[in-house]
């Protein structure tokens, strides 16, 4: 992995997310936003190690994963803003980005559920030499389905890489208050191969992901990467008002001082002008994407009831066509 390329990926996520937050403040976003800011090194580092023919499965905090998986910003932004041309035609929205062509399977907004779905994908991929990557938050490890999936994956020998983004909080609850084991202790206790890593250091994340993905591809065993990190902003924004900070000021300050972009920039050891130019270039790109998206119409209302099923069955006329108006 080129550190400069990783830096650019992270910067694209950061700038995209800040622009999305800005739109949320102006009530231009459909639904809630769960920004990825602060965790960029994880998506960038892990997905630089993933081969493009390997499936990626995400959860509601999916914008960063989508960008790092190579989805066009345009399709993401239009989906998030509810404009024509979104990757899911406006049906998925911010929490459910999906792009089959790029093997970005999609995202589930039910905590933990993406693990079992991803294990099914890994099951189908078993024997192909391809791994499957799934992301989750630290809170997701509380859910029974996560346990079921991990133990089944170990028993069946599924080539699954679980990336647990441990930001220490689950919504407004500090994770320590509702768990008796850290994520690393937990997967260790379950007898799973795993590595714990500084999730704000993209080089470290990438190295670990490479190791684990190589093992996934070669050996019949799931792997877990626990990446310690922190959200720069907040869990989620609902409507036009930024939520108040609910975390201790010192904790926020501590992590602000360890911003993954700063760490990557320092490690890449690139001159300031390079950074400035990268930022300017990406800002231009993102601005254009938003300008085009905001100028676009909403999705075509005639598609509201399409793709519920493959084709309407005899007794089930597609609903919307019959609405009396």
């Amino acid at each position: 992995m080129q550190l400069t390329a990783a830096y650019r990926t992270m910067l694209r996520i950061r700038i995209l997310e800040e622009k999305i937050i800005d739109c949320a403040n102006r009530n231009l976003v459909v639904g809630f936003v769960h920004p990825y800011t602060g965790q960029e090194a994880i998506a960038a580092g892990v997905l630089a190690a993933r081969r493009p023919d390997e499936w990626v499965v995400s959860f509601y905090r999916c914008h960063g994963h989508a960008v790092a998986a190579g989805l066009p910003l345009d399709g993401i932004v239009r989906e998030v803003l509810g404009r024509e041309g979104g990757v899911c035609g406006g049906k998925g929205g911010s929490m459910h980005l999906a792009d089959r062509g790029r093997r970005f399977l999609g995202a589930s907004s039910i905590v933990g559920s993406q693990l079992s779905v991803a294990a099914g994908v890994a099951m189908a991929e078993r024997g192909t030499g391809r791994a499957t990557v799934v992301f989750c938050g630290d809170g997701a490890l509380g859910a029974g389905v996560s346990y079921e999936t991990l133990t089944i994956s170990a028993t069946l020998g599924l080539p699954l890489l679980l990336v647990c983004e441990d930001n220490g909080w689950q919504d407004q609850t500090r994770s320590e208050l509702v768990r008796h084991r850290t994520p690393a202790q937990l997967v260790d206790g379950l007898g799973l191969d795993h590595v714990e890593v500084d999730g704000n250091d993209v080089a470290a994340v990438h190295r670990a992901a490479e190791t684990l993905l190589t093992r996934c591809r070669r050996e019949r065993r799931p792997q877990v990467l626990v990446a310690r990190t922190y959200l720069r902003h907040y869990h989620a924004q609902v409507g036009g008002a930024r939520p108040p900070e609910y975390r201790p000021a010192e904790e926020v300050a501590y992590w602000r001082a360890r911003d993954p972009l700063d760490i990557a920039a320092a490690a890449a050891d690139v001159p300031d002008p390079w950074l400035a130019e990268a930022r300017a270039e990406i800002e231009r790109e993102v601005d254009q994407v938003f300008a085009a998206a905001l100028a676009a119409p909403p999705p075509d209302v005639a598609t509201a009831a399409t793709n519920v099923t493959a084709a309407p069955l005899p007794a089930a006329v597609p609903a919307v066509t019959a609405v009396a108006r």
Binding site: K91, M95, S109, I110, A143, A304, A305, V308, A316, A319
Partner: protein
């Protein structure tokens, strides 16, 4: 801004009932301070165990209010709901009771997409022994929750997010007070004698808005709020409807196995209304799309209700015999 009546109901219950516990993935510090961490229990994202534990506490004499956050998350706890909470009293032949209340948000103007937006009142209404409360206004939410919190059997309270927006006080409020409301008794949200609009949850406000529009057509509508999907007040509604004649049954859920069909069938067979003077307005059998533009045609609108109503009244050269309603698909 005054306190939301539901908040008052919850605090009053916590104060008055020392055996009442609250389970949630999040707990407010001030409530923990007031009532203790033993009663305000903070739990991981593990709804299956959360509801199962609530059943266990209830079996040995406590009462638990589970804030499941969203009905969408209740599907991960369907076993303890269907196979534990509503079964232990019967299986033990009355040795136990399970006084358990589960609150969760349904859907309304949040645009969160198919996994988060569910209403589920017809679905839940099929579970024997379960009360399914579906408040249509803030006072009704408070009143139904108050009753739930003294009820000896499991209750699910399905709350529209609309009841909790910053301008909840702008919502139509058919209930004069947040006082406890009985289960299985439909309420008259508006008096009128020309026709009846029946709603549940979100469609109560919709019916009230439609009634205002229909008043411009010279029609005085009665609006009925079913309040609970189970028990369903078939007889009470029939009585109310019998006084007016034409009736429009309005639900955001799709027609398939809807409680509105159950109710409609009763109204007809009880002689409260002729079948051609009854119309339905349903939502489409389509998951919730995130985009509001895509969502709009899938849910009943004031226009739909008004059109269905006008199709029934004799003033408009005989109406269309309920066709507007029957056009709605499965």
């Amino acid at each position: 801004m005054s306190r939301h009546p539901v908040g008052t109901t919850v605090r009053t219950a916590l104060t008055e009932q020392p055996d009442l516990h609250m389970f949630c993935t999040y707990q407010q510090d001030d409530l923990i301070e007031l009532f203790g961490a033993d009663r305000m229990v903070r739990l991981p994202i593990a709804e299956n165990a959360m509801v199962g534990m609530a059943v266990g506490m209830a079996l040995v004499g406590r009462r638990v209010l589970v804030s499941i956050a969203r009905v969408a998350f209740l599907f991960t706890a369907f076993d303890p709901l269907i196979n534990q909470a509503t079964k232990w009293r019967y299986m033990s032949d009355g040795q136990y009771q399970v006084p358990l209340v589960i609150r969760g948000l349904t859907r309304g103007d949040e645009h969160l997409g198919a996994q988060h937006e569910h209403s589920a009142h017809s679905l839940l209404s099929q579970i024997p022994g379960l009360v399914v409360a579906v408040p249509g206004s803030p006072n009704s939410a408070a009143g139904l929750l108050a009753t739930a919190l003294t009820h000896p059997d499991p209750v699910v309270v399905l709350e529209s997010p609309r009841l909790y927006t910053p301008d909840w006080q702008q919502l139509p409020e058919p209930e004069p007070t947040p006082a406890p409301l009985p289960f299985g008794v439909a309420g008259r949200a508006l008096a009128g004698r020309d026709l009846t609009l029946v709603g549940i949850g979100n469609t109560v406000a919709l019916c009230l808005r439609a009634a205002r529009r229909l008043a411009d057509h010279g029609l005085r509508c009665q609006v009925v709020d079913l309040r609970t999907a189970a028990p369903l007040d078939r007889d009470g509604t029939a009585e109310l409807v019998a006084a007016t004649g034409p009736v429009v049954l309005v639900d955001e859920e799709p027609r398939r196995s809807s409680l509105m069909c159950d109710l409609g069938m009763h109204l007809v067979q009880a002689g409260a209304v002729e079948p051609d003077r009854l119309a339905f307005v349903f939502g489409a059998a389509v998951p919730a799309p995130a985009s509001p533009v895509l969502l709009a045609p899938l849910l009943p609108t004031v226009d739909d209700v008004v059109a269905a109503a006008l199709g029934l009244v004799p003033t408009r050269s005989g109406g269309d015999g309920g066709r507007a309603g029957r056009l709605r698909p499965a």
